[in-house]
Symmetry: C3
Subunit: 467 residues, 3 copies
């Protein structure tokens, strides 16, 4: 049986039977549940020709596939390459960052198709799946990837799978409360994805607090190349964020508008991030941690309002503020959270997702409350907020109130859910690494041989190489 090399606090990180068991049993469960519940939506079903006639469509191009598939692919890249590579900044945790992200996301999208399907696409006993469901599943998993950022390097793959199972479930419940019960708008997920995902992850990492984490301090930094790999993640998240925020908006102007607003917010965010990164460092040098993360805060913060008439300058203002908030967070808040509140947040998700997510929820509430028929047009107004049926009489200011309520619900759900899941993950059966082996691929991965010695030397410069 494998034991960590350092014996300080021996932990059993042997995965050979536990990990395969979890993977295989859960995948079999997915197959059974898909077999019972999941079918194609009418637009993906071979009966589409009949459907087309029923819906009075004249061309195949009006299949939802052509409205959303390019955005779906962009979102897909954000989840797997964006998050996977962004988390690759650690010098010795590249395999874990990209590999575990891959694992949890691949499981998560399946489970999300089911959970979200039961809540939103359930018709006569079947979940009908189309391209919009695929996007929503990716969104849901995005919130898990965010939470993963807080505990990166400190957990076993089994813990990540367990967290994914629970978080996806709670995400779907929270999303249902917000979108269906509160009738809140949140196309880009400032509340449902970012606020929820971040506070969930922060609560989990708080509960999993490791007092001796400084034992692996030497591995918590980056090296030159790992920072460059991380920039791949950053850029793909940054470039495709307009697709993220517009992916499930209404066809036509709403998708178009959401993309433009997000584009503007992100652009402004880069400038203020660079400004504050330089300003807050004594020597005035730019810090890659800020560039890799805070430049993205603008995308998070227009997640709710991007499809609304936020306007390009409104988006610039939001991006402007969030670049500052996020960078300042990295410099002052992260150390404070760690030393005082015992929140060890590996990737700084508090700065990139939690605070900008909250801002995003607030901006969304204000933008909704400020909506007028004049700005939106009579039809546009009703369409934008879906003020039909039961919600026919809802006014913008009431909508704003509900939007605000959505923030509160998301935060509370995240705290409660995170506490529950944190407690579960604390059980000593999941094979998490000892404090001195955190942020180290070698625990769960076959690492190419000759690397070893060079890292050995890097960290023990005073010892000769060949003993």
């Amino acid at each position: 049986m494998e034991r960590p090399r350092h014996q300080g606090m021996t932990k059993n990180t042997f995965m050979r039977w536990r990990l395969p068991l979890v993977c295989l049993v859960w995948e079999v469960a997915m197959i059974i549940l898909f077999g019972v519940f999941v079918r194609f939506s009418p637009e993906a079903d071979a009966h589409w020709e009949e459907e087309k006639r029923k819906m009075n469509l004249t061309s195949d191009i009006e299949n939802d596939f052509y409205f959303r598939y390019p955005s779906f692919q962009d979102v897909h890249v954000m989840i797997f390459v964006g998050f996977g590579f962004l988390m690759m900044f650690l010098k010795r945790y590249g395999f874990g960052a990209v590999g575990f992200n891959f694992l949890l996301a691949a499981f998560g999208i399946q489970w999300a198709l089911l959970m979200q399907g039961w809540f939103h696409s359930f018709k006569s006993g079947k979940i009908l799946v189309g391209v919009e469901n695929l996007i929503n599943a990716d969104f849901c998993v995005g919130s898990v990837c965010i939470a993963f950022g807080a505990i990166l390097g400190k957990t076993s793959p089994i813990q990540l799978l367990v967290m994914t199972l629970f978080q996806v479930t709670l995400f779907a419940v929270n999303e249902y409360i917000l979108l269906n019960l509160l009738h809140v708008k949140d196309a880009g997920g400032s509340m449902t994805i970012h606020t929820f995902g971040a506070y969930f992850g922060l609560t989990v990492t708080r509960i999993l607090y490791r007092p001796n984490l400084e034992q692996s301090k030497d591995k918590q930094g980056s090296v030159y190349h790992s920072d460059l790999f991380a920039m791949i993640g950053t850029l793909y998240l940054w470039m495709y964020w307009p697709s993220f925020n517009s992916a499930i908006s209404e066809h036509g102007d709403a998708q178009h508008r959401a993309a433009i607003n997000t584009y503007c917010s992100l652009a402004a965010c880069v400038l203020t991030t660079m400004a504050f990164s330089s300003m807050l460092q004594k020597k005035g040098k730019l810090d890659m941690v800020h560039i890799q993360n805070a430049t993205l805060a603008g995308g998070v913060a227009v997640g709710t309002s991007a499809e609304m008439m936020l306007t390009p300058y409104g988006s610039l203002i939001v991006g402007f503020i969030c670049g500052i908030v996020s960078t300042v967070g990295y410099v002052y808040l992260t150390p404070f959270l760690e030393s005082r509140l015992h929140i060890q947040d590996t990737c700084g998700i508090h700065n990139l997702h939690a605070m900008p997510g909250l801002i995003g929820g607030i901006v969304g509430a204000i933008t909704a409350a400020a909506a007028t028929e004049d700005v939106y047009g009579k039809e546009g107004f009703i369409k934008a907020f879906d003020f039909t049926g039961t919600y026919k009489t809802r006014t913008p200011s009431i909508q704003g109130g509900f939007q605000a309520a959505g923030i509160v619900v998301s935060v509370l759900m995240a705290f409660a859910g995170g506490a529950l899941v944190g407690a579960i993950l604390k059980l000593p059966v999941w094979g998490d690494p000892a404090a001195e082996n955190c942020f180290e691929d070698d625990v769960y991965w076959e690492v190419p041989e000759d690397e070893e010695s060079d890292v050995y030397h890097m960290h023990h410069p005073d010892k000769p190489a060949s003993p």
Copy 2:
């Protein structure tokens, strides 16, 4: 004249006149053949306005460009970044992996436009080219990239160009037999691309067997960073595979369905790959070779059936099985093939493309044979299998038989073609490297002066390089 540094078995790898000659003469040939044969399809021609009236289309959005261009770009990324980076795992063959892949694919798509054009888009003496042809050319080249994986690191760029010339030709013939003569469905190319490409490559590498390859054993492995580069390739292949399998399906539901099925199969595949990767290693650690490759087997294996009513749970089952088969293949079959059958398969294409390709062909045959009007709808049934004209009376079970025949034809064509091409490549005129220089960029590339001394010098400019 350049000679390899080790003199054990001197080979002339000097490319200066041979490679330019081949490149220039072949490119001139392409220009002449394109001049004689290739013109724009009506949808890309400036006469489109007239065409639109003729086809009774009311909007430019119904130009095939808008149905297929986003998928085309995804496929394009898979060929050049996907394959190019996936093969970058070797520690000293990054330039060759991405550079030679670039070269052979750039030549291959031109030659494929001609070969496939003569068979499929030839009208009144001209090949009419549109976006679908570009996708098909990329597909064809995909099969060459697969074969390249088997001989990676052991061949000269000229050999690769010669192989591309022949393989593209044979691919087009095989594709014609399958799609036109047997009237087989194979939108994602389980048979035409993967099975054919893989067995072709395996036959070639068998014939080029190098008994002394262990002389370069030290370069056959990966290093930490090369594994991370390879993950870029893996993830782009994985993420965009739904585009690959749906790119040339019928407009509407078929494209939509193919994307969903592929998405599901790939997700399941990740879980079983991780499970078996851990299970088959004594210490229970995950192996990057499996993660980089076997996670993709699910995409290969629904290549034929993705556009059919395979259903999401059917896709999960296929992905489940293929993750296992492929991972087990890497652990047990690859060493066996090398030691017993003398098949030196650098990238393990037997596990990623050959076996999953066969499974894909079989799944396609079964899914076709099991098709009913009930499941597909009357119109959908005819549309899905194109049971019109000569094929009006074909039944699903007969179709299943023809699908099975398509597998056999592909394998036989691959063996015969691979044997022929292998024999040609064995001629001692192509400048392949000596056994001890395999997997080494230095043979064909200007490699930056070695990391070692230059980093040393960069930071210690005052010290001499060789102590």
Copy 3:
């Protein structure tokens, strides 16, 4: 205050107050100008439902968003990942390459939305912004990224921002002269983007000539991994170039045709680049510099003509020639320009953008002059060259003349603008690095500390770390 470590020629590169000031003040200016001027185009505005009726559109799919958004995203990737990573080839300038490119592009797109908006989308006092504007802004910034290539590693981030401010302005003026006054076609920007951007950058670098640049010669090269990172940039530029050249072409056949022509030109270009790279090196080995750059020349050179009836074989010929011209340029012209004309062109933009841009302008002029109603069809002819209104009577040969004039105007504007901006950047207030600190991230970036020692140790395991 930070001072460079070597004291040979002390320069004040302290950014702490200057960079933040520029970033914040300029971003505030953007917000104010956006607030005054920028609104959504009708297709992105919530009044779209009314607009749809006015334009007699029956489906949301005819919103320009669906015609152009996938191409926009590809272009976006080219600007941020394409250029950012292509310039990462230097061994110690990866942060600067990708980070400064990120900064200037994020600022540039905002300023370009305004400048281009005033010239092209200004209606009743407002700039109406839609997806096409986003693409055009990326295009405009593309020309700045090109110029950045010439001065890469030798400038401070403030200088880059100042250059961006001026270059975007001049770009918009030049573009207005070409497209509106001369009524020139240039969809892929051979003239407006490449010729203008390259000669602008070359003029700037000439004026900023550093006689002592050989002091940082050891850092001007690449290392193995930096070359692989650069290939990410190359491939994304290469793969998405068909989207670049077709992104703002007319809906339908023109977009379709532009993509096909560009695809063909780029494919041919790879072959001749490889041929000449091998041929021009004594040992016949391929040079990554050529593969990274010259393979892209074919995309530049069909920038003007791609949407015309250039035909696939015409595209192959253009790509064929440009691969040769560009590679020969790297081998012979770049050293000559540096030694004789004192043009220090870090990335060789003269070979990748200037010469192919000129060729592209000429090919465009010829293709336009050779246009006939027979080839284009009556309607297609008028549509392709927009021979309506004032230009109703313009003939192809006259159009060809105007196209040629466009080249001349672009070059002259580039020289004049580059001289002006170069003079401004020469002022000793912008914090540029000393000659011996060029091509070194350490000047403006927090660089992870321990690289140094660990690389040292990796390769010299037998030596102690601290000498």
